[in-house]
Symmetry: C2
Subunit: 345 residues, 2 copies
DNA sequence: GTTAGCACTCTCGCCCTCCGAGTGCTAATC
DNA sequence: GATTAGCACTCGGAGGGCGAGAGTGCTAAC
């Protein structure tokens, strides 16, 4: 795998990203590497095919890069440092403008992302387990039911229904709320779960409430961030040439509607090395229906280092450099809005 | 427009609903109306075409019913009373089972609806303005920010962020919460808006809080029920033969992602006469992109007569009788769950 | 008013052909 | 030994022609 092969591979990937058509040796020679003849390129491409970097749809067609090729391409991109973002400032301005005067930051960020890229976008809030609790509140809903509202340091609000003892009225619930807040403020949900049993033993609280909290923490752990994923621009997948026939697109759309499967995508991402950008190409997503899709993810921070995820789902044939830059940009801006704008205590 | 024409029209509609293929006179004569010859049917169909009930894609093809034809067909259905629901009991059982052990009733109802029908489903909560308030709570979020939680008599919870005076601490907010609850419990949001000014004059409350409430009621009025629409099964539109090419499907998908436009659909529905079932065929939806779609809506009730909407979006070529029955059934069951199951105080 | 028969139309699927893009191989060149 | 020019070969896809079939409208008979 010499330098020349690498340059040819890069040319193939880039041309295919642009045109969506199999790339021939002549094209490469004319458009990208004039100093090398098409015959030489043919030989090299033959080698590259043998190495698994590309293949031919049929004998007399050009080559199409494989997932392995995209992988190498993206790694090259990452290694060589991404381009400095040129239109950084204007784009950030635009983002801040669009997001700030809309109520729901998450939804509008998703919207902006899919508008920017013309792909499918997803925005996930930080995992609840890692969020730091600011206050806890029990709000009576009906007899024996209360709404547990948890406000975190990033100003993110999560709530869940819990059962409580029949006998507890509004004032009693308020007292309990205060006690819980005293006890747990500043802790993460994860810690709360750990300390719950010990707290149950020591505190003079209604066992019903404790059971409620137990239930809550279970539920929080279970649903994790399932319901805080927002997806936008799903209709864009119909623009990809590879999904022009509805038959192909349906399974993917179906995955995009299913929050658990989306979580799965992000989960597999989280296991990768500690950078805040991640690219999953085709099979790497772990979802068979998406073998022709890539997922690009970036992290953003809320409050004291809690991390949420934003991402783009598009065809493997995707302008990675552009998408990566967009995600970095939006991720930064989002961190700013969520940490700076609605700063906690 | 005699009886025979009507029967022929019905046959055309039903056959087209089943097969999605233009219907010829011979087909009608053999499959539906043996006692009439194909030639007669041809003549009648020619008349029907002139009346605007059907048209031919090309000269040598059968007829395809127009929106006007579906309209008549549906009205006939409605007039003749819908079939008694046969599998009523089993289906209701199934629905209750699926919905009850899932947390989010709205989301799972939408899921069930699209699973049942294989169409796109939507579920909308009752308009907030008509909901009856059970309790109000202010939960501190950060300095000068609080979460206003409103619990309604159907156990539905809505919350919004409001600005409050810097000086208010948790206890002060709690006191205000109690006062607000005393004042407004049992009233609808609409009434609250009306009484707000008079309340401002009489009560000894922090002007900041009042402004917050003002802001809240504005916001509630503005966003109405925008963010309580849930859509499920959008990928199903790719199954309709009429949307097999991605080009056709994209605009529709795009509409389905846009909450305001969905609201628009339901709004136009609300203006129709006072039945709790409504069918909008093609152009009647008021959305150009959906001229080949129909929307079927049903209402359900929460608490003391507050009405939400569930609906199905499918191709105009849709088994209306079946869909209407399904919606009635699910609507009933949902009313039961929301009013009976989580009954308020 | 209804029906049988018939000529006519038009789409769709099929096959065939041809064109061109692209390859691999071989032989010549540096 | 690497590179390149040349050439024969392959194969998909566009385009054209053909026939079958479905359906119609019209006319004439009942």
């Amino acid at each position: 795998m010499n330098e020349r092969k690498r340059r040819i591979l890069q040319a193939v990937v880039e041309d295919y990203i642009m045109t969506a058509m199999p790339v021939g040796s002549r094209t490469i020679s004319r458009k990208y590497l004039q100093e090398i003849s098409s015959a030489t390129i043919r030989n090299e491409m033959s080698d590259l095919e043998e190495l698994g970097y590309m293949m031919q749809p049929h004998v007399s067609a050009g080559r199409v890069p494989s997932a392995k090729a995209y992988r190498l391409y993206v790694d090259m991109l990452m290694a060589s440092g991404l381009n400095p973002i040129k239109e950084d400032k204007a784009a950030r301005e635009y983002f801040l403008q669009r997001v700030s005067h809309l109520d729901d930051v998450v939804a509008s960020t998703a919207q902006v992302l899919s508008d920017f890229t013309h792909y499918v976008s997803l925005v996930m809030m930080p995992g609840q387990a890692d969020l730091c609790i600011a206050t806890l509140h029990l709000v009576p809903v009906s007899r024996a039911m209360a709404l547990l509202v948890i406000v975190t340091d990033g100003g993110i609000i999560r709530d869940t229904m819990v059962h409580v003892a029949d006998s507890l009225d509004t004032d009693a619930l308020y007292a309990i709320s205060r006690m819980l807040t005293d006890r747990f403020a500043g802790k993460t949900l994860k810690e709360v779960r750990r300390k719950l049993r010990e707290f149950a033993a020591s505190a003079p609280a209604d066992p019903q409430v404790l059971q409620g909290i137990e239930e809550l923490s279970d539920r929080m752990a279970r649903e994790n961030a399932t319901d805080t994923i927002t997806v936008s621009g799903t209709h864009n997948i119909l623009n990809f040439p590879e999904y022009h026939e509805a038959e192909k697109a349906r399974p993917v759309l179906s995955v995009l509607e299913n929050r658990e499967r989306l979580m799965q995508i992000i989960k597999t991402a989280a296991t990768r090395d500690g950078t805040d950008l991640a690219v999953h190409i085709g099979p790497e997503t772990g979802i068979p229906e998406m073998e022709n899709c890539s997922v690009v993810l970036a992290e953003y921070t809320v409050g004291q280092g809690n991390r949420g995820t934003i991402g783009i789902i598009g065809p493997t044939r995707m302008p990675y450099a552009r998408v990566l830059n967009t995600l970095r940009l939006v991720g930064d801006a989002l961190s700013l809005v969520l940490t700076g704008g609605e700063q906690a205590e």
